[in-house]
Every structure is written in structure tokens, then in C-alpha cells.
Symmetry: C2
Subunit: 185 residues, 2 copies
DNA sequence: GTCTATAGAGTGATAGAC
DNA sequence: GTCTATCACTCTATAGAC
């Protein structure tokens, strides 16, 4: 009976979707078992720390994805093309605003305090990486940091608006504006 | 003992704070009674529709505040000064990013679907009002709408970042940049 | 037998509604 | 306060892999 399906990392994306849909508080174990098709036994076998450990695993998984797909390219590749590539990744990853940023969502209520290190680290790393690219592209340090902050924040805002208005065009329009801002104005 | 304190509208701000802190799912009736110092009896007397009606009341209260303090001035007063005044109100209302936007938070998970009308209406009204002011200030229709969308979204993003990084300076810096954008560039 | 993965009944606590 | 449903979580039982 055992050994058939899962390893721990196989269920992490499914876990992420549940947390995204319902939030941390709204993601009950019942909902999680329904979505992951894993019994409580398996779930607590993989994540002895319960929901907190599940959320931690999801945040780590998100961080890893951004690290390889976005942050490292921003730090190491030619800046103009890495920035363009970042916006393409963002458009795709967030499904034009139909998929939320779990890290941003966790930041909104007291869930933040449970995962403050992962939440803060994710955004700081993003701002630093983008700031590095903008700086290499010719901006002053201070300008690069300000624009990076505005852009990373702007992406979060675009997600909020797209979902609130149920209109992905808003997301795409805002992202285009932010991309323009990175080309200097 | 009864009759002493409350009317329904007196408890709405306290309700708002509970929803802000814990989110809709995390705001349990126990937490609500603790914060409002109202028994369950009074609570269900004022809000027979339960938690949904409580949240609806909070959203209506928020909408009313923005309507008088922000949206109507944007539509009717001299645009440059109404826009400056909007940014001042925003800085104050959101406590430099330490207080979240409940409407934006509700937009993030499936809570949105319960309150989609209030959530969508709030942001659309804000964008329309700001767009009107920007247009009167000299922007083309299309430019005004784009900038209004970026600014309203940018404010939401600023809240997310300020909380995620636990740093209100980020909020203030972003707001300053958005205000600059409204003066044309 | 020992190990890991699994299923799910059962725990007390707490949920929202009234 | 009282109701039922559901919460997060524990535990026992058992499957197959070695």
C-alpha cells in the first residue's frame, strides 16, 4: 500500500494552492486533505509540525522558485534582459493577477507574525536583486532602490486590483507601466 | 444593565479592527466578543446575519468614510489640491502602512467572492474619482485612467510591502513617488 | 522483523448560530 | 448558555518494501 505516490515535495504545490484560495486560517486540514488527496496520516507524517510546517514548506518552495527564476538572473545576467525576463515571469507566475502572491497575502493579517522571516526575506531579496540590476543598468544607488521598491510594491498592488475588480487587464496594464519605469523616464 | 452603551454603528469600527488583525476567517466570534466587549446576544441582535453581516457593515463604513473624505473631494474640488489631500488622508488612514486596507485584504482569498460587490465597487470608485481629478488637471482620459489605476494599486502594494518588511518608511517613500506621478512627469 | 507511507476513527477544543 | 459541526491534531492499524 505504501510507497506508491508521494514524497513530501510532491504535495507542496497543491498545499500552496489551498493556502492561496482560503488563506492560512481558512485552509483547514479537511480542505487540505480533500485537495491533496492525502490522508491525515500522510500529511502529518510529512509535516509533523502541522499547518505551520506546511505553510513554511510552501513559502520555501516559492522562495526557491523565485531565487532561480528571478533573483539570481537579476543579480548576474545583463540587467536589461534580466528585468524584461522578470516581468515575463511575473505575468506568467501570477497568471495575470488571477493567482495571488501567497507571501503578500500572509503579510496582510497576523499570519505575518508566524512567518515574518520568510515574508520579509522574500520581499527584501526581490528589492535587492532588482535594485542591483537597475543600478548596473545605470541608475544611481538611491534611484535604483526607490524604483525597485516601487516596482515590487506595484506588482503586489496589481494583484490586489486585478482580483478586486476581477479583471486581468488591470494587472497587465500596470505591469507594462512598471516595466516602462525600469527603462528610465 | 442593558441599554447602556451600544448602537449598531458604535461597534463597527471595533469590528473592523478585528477583521483587519485576523482576516475574515481568523476573526472568530470569540475574538469579536472579546474586542467589542459585546456578548454574543448583543452581537446577533445587531447583526442577525452573523459574520457576513458584520463584515458587510464594516465594508460599508469604510466606503462611507472614503466617499466623504476622498472620493467626493476628488470629483468636486480643485483637482491638484484634492489629490494632495487624498495622499494626506491615505498616509493618515493607513497609519503609514501599519494599518492594512481591509478591502484589499478581502480581495486576496475566497473571502472576495462573498463580498465581491463591495470590494470591486470600492476600488472602481476610487479609480474613477482619481481619474476624474487627473483628467481635470490636464491629463488625457486614457492617461488619467492609467495613472489612477497605477496609483490606487500602488497604495495597496505599499501597504503589503510596509507590513511584510515591517517598515513604514517604505510606505511613505512609495506614497511620495505616487504623488509625484500625479503631478505629471 | 523493521521501516516508511497510508488511512481514518477518535480526541478535546472551539467554531458560528441562535 | 446551548446547539451541532468542524477545528487541529493524535493514534492505532496495516499496507508493502527491504
Amino acid at each position: 500500500m505504501a510507497r506508491l505516490i508521494a514524497e513530501r515535495h510532491d504535495v507542496v504545490p497543491a498545499l500552496g494552492e489551498v493556502f492561496r484560495r482560503f488563506g492560512f486560517e481558512g485552509a483547514s486540514i479537511a480542505r487540505i486533505t480533500a485537495h491533496t488527496k492525502l490522508g491525515k496520516g500522510s500529511l502529518y507524517h510529512f509535516f509533523p509540525g502541522g499547518k505551520d510546517e506546511m505553510a513554511e514548506a510552501v513559502l520555501g518552495h516559492i522562495r526557491d522558485w523565485f531565487e532561480t527564476e528571478v533573483f539570481i538572473p537579476l543579480m548576474q545576467e545583463p540587467p536589461a534582459q534580466a528585468i524584461e525576463s522578470m516581468f515575463a515571469s511575473v505575468e506568467q507566475y501570477f497568471h495575470s493577477g488571477r493567482r495571488i502572491c501567497l507571501v503578500g497575502a500572509f503579510a496582510m493579517d497576523e499570519t505575518r507574525d508566524r512567518f515574518s522571516k520568510a515574508v520579509g526575506g522574500y520581499f527584501q531579496r526581490w528589492i535587492d536583486a532588482l535594485g542591483s540590476a537597475l543600478s548596473r543598468a545605470g541608475m544611481t544607488e538611491i534611484e535604483a532602490e526607490n524604483v525597485a521598491t516601487e516596482v515590487v510594491g506595484g506588482i503586489q498592488g496589481a494583484i490586489v486590483l486585478a482580483r478586486a475588480l476581477d479583471d486581468d487587464q488591470r494587472f497587465t496594464v500596470i505591469i507594462k507601466g512598471l516595466a516602462q519605469r525600469c527603462r528610465m523616464d
